[in-house]
Amino acid sequence: MTVGEWLEWAKADALKRELPDLMAPLAGLAQATERLRSADWNDDADHATPVDLGHGESRQRPGAK
């Protein structure tokens, strides 16, 4: 789903739920999602930095063993 498709769907759903005030926040979220998806670190997903909820791996300083 592209961000544009997502935004259309989200706005329609919000209107169906009688939340018209969500239109502007959803548009703002869409901009942030575009930014997130276009980040260059997504290009290297095959060799991605490990997703690490506990900071364990990311605590390693460069060069640390």
Binding site: L26, L29, A32, R37, W41, N42, H55, R59, R61
Partner: protein, 447 residues
Amino acid sequence: MTIADAAPRLAKGQLKSEKLTEECLSQIEALNPKLNAFITVTADEALKAARDADKDIAGGRYRGPLHGIPVSLKDLVDLKGIRTTAGSLVRASHVATEDADVTSRLRDAGAVFVGKTNLHEFAFGTTTEDSGFGKAHHPVDQSRSPGGSSGGSAIAIATGMSLGTVGTDTGGSIRIPAAVCGIVGLKPGWGEISASGVVPLSRQLDHVGPLGACVTDAWIQYNAMLPAGRQTTGVPAAASLKGLRLGVPAGYLFDQLDADVERVVMSTIDTLRRSGAIVTEVAIPHATDMAAIYLHLVLGDAAEYHARTLMSRPQDYTPNVRLRLEMARYVLAEDYVRALRGKAVIAHEVDRAMDGVDALVLPSLAIPAPPIGAVTMPVKGGPEAVRTLMLRCTQPFNLSGHPAISIPCGHTHGGLPIGFQLAGHHGQTPALVQAALAVERAIAHAG
């Protein structure tokens, strides 16, 4: 009065906890109607605890520098027998059956709890305007925000309503109000202080920590919040500024600053350089992605926590927070996972930026206290959303988990406080505090 001033006098019997607690309660009585810093005041319990502390101290059972000290708790931290509202009518009748871990540790250290402080509802905001118990007001200018989400806690310290306080920080919620109100706020490293018994916003970004009138007060509280085996005695010595290696993360984190904030922060960095610190520029290459990463994580986590009550009691949320939570429900799983990866990237880059330096130094936030109701504020580069500006300089260290501290470094031309932030290495909060003690001293000397 600071904890550092009061503690030795309490220990020697020159000052009674009951008197100190009465003074704090008097401040609350006088100022809370205007500032709305407290949601619940536990006066009777506090006075009893203070009298017990006086008896124990007189009987030779002194427990340490928090014994008999009046302390407040952000009202998402459980205090047994007292309601924990999280600043929301959703939890208006929720009474804690146990102390939070952090409460229990402070209680063991002899702290006297004077009450529960106001906050941005469920800690989901930076201004303490959206609270089910009314907005809080800045102690210097009541038309302005005290920052948030731990806004009530910062007011309490700035006005002497309590000498210590516990806050939480998911994107800056300890450091932002500390900077805005002219006090010290310490966000320890992620996971250092237990968050058990604390209402979450995002467990992977939430940090529990102290706010105080000075770095020493923050240290005394932080130390008491640690597990018993990790606590130390005494206050660490200030680091020597001569040779202290400070990294300035130039670029994004300095790009959109209020003119007064930029002037005062750059002047502080100059002061440190003249005092012998070695200041170098460092880079966080993906800093511009941090806001998007943070947003998707905090929204995803908050959506999960609030899903049930958003369905059953939507009318009990404040309108703005409800809207943000409703928006949160639209975050896609694939984008949440992208944000998790981005978080790891940022953590790695902050580590690399800290390679070869003792601490990073930067503004605590880009603007001084915003007017209540302001949507945007003018900064270098044009007007920008208040929420974005307030989180900009603090959220890197929530994503990365590094310890960070905000200390006051000056004022705007209009007299509003400005905060200076230091971030330290993982697992080295004591070293960060030592650096902050040195910087605090240099700022005082220069002022």
